[in-house]
Structure formats: structure tokens, C-alpha cells
């Protein structure tokens, strides 16, 4: 393996992190909306949200990415592989995170919400200032865990031509007829990314705790 090989595998990590990050940034808020829809017990949208979450959570990443990429032209939209990959990640992240948000919401003390209601707080403010800060803290470990799983499902985007870490490593191996070293480099990169996520979780947990003066 020469320097260029290392570099091409490392380049794959930009794709992996970039696509996953885009997925998380869009998917997590989306998942929150889905969870709120079900928590607020809005009639029809609740069932649709449930169905959506149930189907996506059982759907393999490979199948989903192919559905979105190959299927979208049929409904009139032409997507680049990059956009299709990001949409897939966002859809996956939204479904998984909605479950995490939902269990935090269910554990949330409804009394606080009712108190805010009694004080005449408008709905958006209620959610934003009362509910969100608290469920954020309890959701954090689960969300980080789901992000880790998202990263681990990211090799699926290779089937539509995106060169992420695993595909890059496999290509180097196919070229050099020595498959194991590039795969180990790829593994090392994943380990670094996942460790970084865990560190991020700890940092976020600590900063959250500092904001809580009274237990």
C-alpha cells in the first residue's frame, strides 16, 4: 500500500462522515417532529407516523438507498447519488431517532408541561423551552448510539456508486491483490469516528449538567 492508497481510503471517510452528518442533521429534528406527533396524539398523522417508523426501522439500508436512488426518477425526481445517499441517511435517522425521542417524551413528567399550559405559554414555546431541554439530555445516549449505527450502515451507499470508507478500502485491496491491510485501515478509521462520537457524547452530557443548578 502506498501513500495514495492511504489517502483514497481516508477520502472515503469524508463521504462517510459527510453523508452521515447530513443525515443526522436533517433526520434528528424530523424524528423529533414524528415523536411529538405521536406524543400529542394527533389522530391521523399519529398512525401514519407509526407506520413510517415501523417500516423504515425494519428496512435494510441497501434496499432503502436503492429504492430512493433508482425509484425516484419514476416519480419524476432525478437525484444524484450523493443526494440520494443523504436522503436515505436522513430517512433512516428520522425513523430511529423518533423512537429515542418518543421514549424520552413518555418518561417526561407531564406535569411540567401542564404547568406551562396553565401559565398560558404558547405551544411552540412550551415545547422549545420546557420539553426539549430535558428530553435532550435523556435522549443523548440513545441518539449517539443510533448515530453510531447509522455510520455502521453507511457502506450501503456504495451500491449507488458513493465511495465511502469500506468501498475505498475494498478497491485498494482489489488493485493491490492484498485485501487485508486496506480493510484494517478502514477499520481504524471507523474506530476513530466512533470514539469521537463517544467523546462528543460525554462532552455534551457534561455541558448539559452544568446548566442544572438545582437537582
Amino acid at each position: 500500500m502506498n501513500a495514495y492508497d492511504y489517502w483514497s481510503i481516508f477520502q472515503g471517510s469524508f463521504t462517510t462522515v459527510g453523508v452521515s452528518l447530513a443525515g443526522v442533521l436533517v433526520g434528528l429534528p424530523l424524528g423529533l417532529c414524528l415523536a411529538l406527533l405521536r406524543w400529542a396524539q394527533m389522530p391521523v398523522s399519529r398512525q401514519i407516523a407509526y407506520l413510517y417508523v415501523s417500516i423504515i426501522r425494519s428496512c435494510p439500508a441497501v434496499t432503502l438507498v436503492m429504492l430512493i436512488y433508482f425509484g425516484s426518477p419514476q416519480i419524476g425526481v432525478s437525484l444524484s447519488p450523493l443526494v440520494a445517499a443523504m436522503i436515505t441517511m436522513a430517512v433512516t435517522a428520522s425513523a430511529f431517532s423518533s423512537e429515542i425521542w418518543r421514549s424520552s417524551l413518555l418518561a417526561f413528567d407531564r406535569q411540567q408541561y401542564d404547568a406551562a399550559l396553565a401559565f398560558g405559554m404558547p405551544r411552540f414555546t412550551r415545547v422549545w423551552r420546557i420539553v426539549l431541554p430535558q428530553i435532550w439530555r435523556s435522549s443523548l445516549p440513545g441518539l449517539i448510539n443510533e448515530t453510531t449505527m447509522l455510520i455502521k450502515s453507511s457502506p450501503a451507499i456504495a451500491v449507488i456508486g458513493m465511495v465511502e470508507i469500506t468501498r475505498a478500502a475494498q478497491r485498494v485491496g482489489a488493485r493491490t491483490y492484498d485485501p487485508l491491510p486496506p480493510l484494517m485501515v478502514g477499520l481504524a478509521l471507523y474506530v476513530v469516528i466512533i470514539f469521537a462520537l463517544v467523546r462528543l457524547q460525554r462532552r455534551l452530557e457534561l455541558s448539559g449538567n452544568r446548566l442544572e443548578p438545582i437537582q
Partner: protein
């Protein structure tokens, strides 16, 4: 895209059925074997002998750090350099088993540690020890606590099975891909696949809830 597309897809039902059957077989075999392997590994994780617990722990943690496809490539492309050449089917099953057994072992260990200490201590006080203690006291309680996590892991296996299409295993997604590419009906094909996967996971959920009901009255 119209209903005709779906009809076209399902006209290929022999192919779909065969691929669906393959996927089911992959899931059932690897799910049950990885569960048994997980049950076997968990006491090793809890072992007081550092050599054993450390090595099993390293194995489990490394599986948790890597994507499934990377692990598949290591076995499929990497092992031949050590002289072991596995077919794509064998690679698929071995990878699914080894990968998921690690996850099973980790949360089974968590379930074990959740068992109230007094319950296990009573087992010791009444003369149970070693394998007998594990089999009669620890294992049933550990498994019942872990039912939702085991069910979840089975769903994970369903999803990981789709990666095997990349190494040319004729599972469901790969079959649907070949159908859609020859008939230009991608949306209907893949949507059918998504719904079939959904069906499998609903069955898993049903079985999980049956087991949960069984375990309900047998909990602490």
C-alpha cells in the same frame, strides 16, 4: 409507475420466492446459531479469569466498532490470504453468526448483571454452582430479561442480510435489483422488497411479544 408495475414484479414470483426463502434461511440459521453462541460467550465475558474475559471482550468490542460489510469483506477477501477460501454463502452465514453473536453476548451480559444478587446467592446457598447454577438459575432469568434485545437483534440480522447481495448471494434485495433492472420498474420492485422485509420484522415482533407474555409472570 402504476399498479401494472407491481403486477409485473410479482409475475416474477418464482425468483422472488426463491430469494425470499434464501433470506429467511439466512436469518433463521444465523439468528439461532448466533443466539446460542452468544449464550456460550456470556459466561466467558463474566469469567474471573482475565485471559478469557479479556479475549472475548476484545472480540465483542471489535464487532461493535465495525460495519457489517467491512467484516464480510475481511472474511471473503481477507481470509484467502491465510489460506481459507469460503464460498459467498458460507461467508455470509459465518459473518452473520460471528457478528451478531458478539452483540448478543454483550447485552446478555447486561441482562445477567441485572439479575438481583440475592436470587443468584440463594442458588449458591442451596448448593447450585458452576454450570448447574448457570443453567438452572442464571440462564433462564438472563434470557427472559433480554427478550426485547434479542428480538431487536434478529431485526438487525434481517437488515444485515441485505448486504450479502454485494458479494453475490441471491437474497431478496439482490433478486429485486435484477428484476427491476431488466424490467425498468425500480420503484415497485424495491417497494415490494421493503414491504416483505417489513413483514418479516412484524413476525419477529409477534414472536417477541409472545415470549414477553410468557416471561411476564416469571419476572422478579
Amino acid at each position: 409507475m402504476s399498479y401494472d408495475d407491481f403486477i409485473l414484479v410479482w409475475q416474477q414470483y418464482p425468483k422472488i420466492l426463491e430469494a425470499f426463502g434464501n433470506t429467511l434461511m439466512l436469518i433463521v440459521i444465523s439468528g439461532s446459531v448466533s443466539m446460542m453462541l452468544g449464550i456460550f460467550l456470556t459466561p466467558m465475558l463474566m469469567s474471573r479469569r482475565k485471559a478469557i474475559s479479556l479475549s472475548v471482550s476484545v472480540y465483542c468490542e471489535s464487532m461493535r466498532c465495525m460495519p457489517f460489510l467491512l467484516f464480510v469483506y475481511m472474511i471473503y477477501f481477507g481470509l484467502p490470504s491465510a489460506g481459507i477460501q469460503l464460498s459467498n454463502w458460507t461467508t455470509g452465514i459465518v459473518a452473520l453468526i460471528l457478528y451478531n453473536a458478539a452483540y448478543m453476548a454483550i447485552f446478555l451480559r447486561g441482562a445477567w448483571q441485572d439479575i438481583p444478587k440475592e436470587t443468584i446467592e440463594a442458588g449458591r446457598a442451596y448448593g447450585f454452582y458452576g454450570f448447574k447454577l448457570f443453567r438452572r438459575v442464571i440462564m433462564p432469568l438472563m434470557l427472559m430479561r433480554a427478550i426485547p434485545m434479542v428480538g431487536n437483534q434478529w431485526v438487525q440480522i434481517v437488515k444485515d442480510s441485505a448486504f450479502l447481495g454485494i458479494i453475490a448471494v441471491t437474497e431478496l434485495t439482490a433478486a429485486m435489483n435484477s428484476i427491476q433492472s431488466t424490467n425498468f420498474i425500480p420503484f415497485a420492485s424495491f417497494l415490494s422488497a421493503v414491504l416483505l422485509y417489513w413483514l418479516i420484522s412484524l413476525v419477529i415482533e409477534l414472536v417477541t411479544s409472545l415470549f414477553t407474555r410468557y416471561a411476564q409472570v416469571r419476572r422478579t
